[in-house]
Symmetry: C2
Subunit: 109 residues, 2 copies
């Protein structure tokens, strides 16, 4: 046990869950907001801005990268991270469709 039974769900459900999970941490939300606000890559400014150790931030960046939400290229001395447009669009689509399925309040509860 302790292992999610992905095989009984649809690809879309698993994919959305993976994306949400990657964002479901305040540090990773803060990192994404930092990238979004500056509208460019971030190159290590994060350490010091957030109150987390360098190793921890690197780990969070890796998770965001593994999920495909951000992408990074080596840029000389520091790494350049930015939003992956493809995944961001997918996220807006999937999540938008999911949230929009709500038809409004029902009378039973």
């Amino acid at each position: 046990m302790g292992l999610t039974k992905t095989e009984i769900f649809t690809n879309k459900q698993n994919q959305l869950a993976t994306l949400l999970k990657a964002m479901a941490h305040p540090a990773r939300i803060a990192i994404l907001q930092r990238i979004l606000i500056s509208n460019t890559c971030i190159c290590g400014d994060l350490v010091g801005e957030l109150g987390l150790a360098q190793a921890t931030i690197s780990q969070h960046l890796k998770e965001l990268k593994n999920a495909g939400i951000i992408q990074g290229t080596i840029e000389g001395v520091s790494i350049c991270y930015c939003i992956n447009p493809k995944t961001w669009k997918l996220l807006e689509q999937q999540l938008g469709a999911f949230l929009a399925e709500y038809k409004g309040e029902t009378t039973c509860c």
Copy 2:
């Protein structure tokens, strides 16, 4: 360690992370979609539809309820679960604002 450092993040960041975390599991996405599609409460039809044990589903429902995403009332023999309109609106708002912060592709990556 193993404990999220919520105190170094804003309330909004923590709140959004909590909501996302509650949804970040394929079973819970499936449960929510099931509620959304039928547009009414669900009363135990889930067991059997999903391939999970009754105890597991009950636990997932509890997590969604704890996060405030669904609400339930005792309805005779079975429990009635439906979307919590307030939280759903909050989710649409917060998540919409978050996703909309993206200004489009940059040239650096």
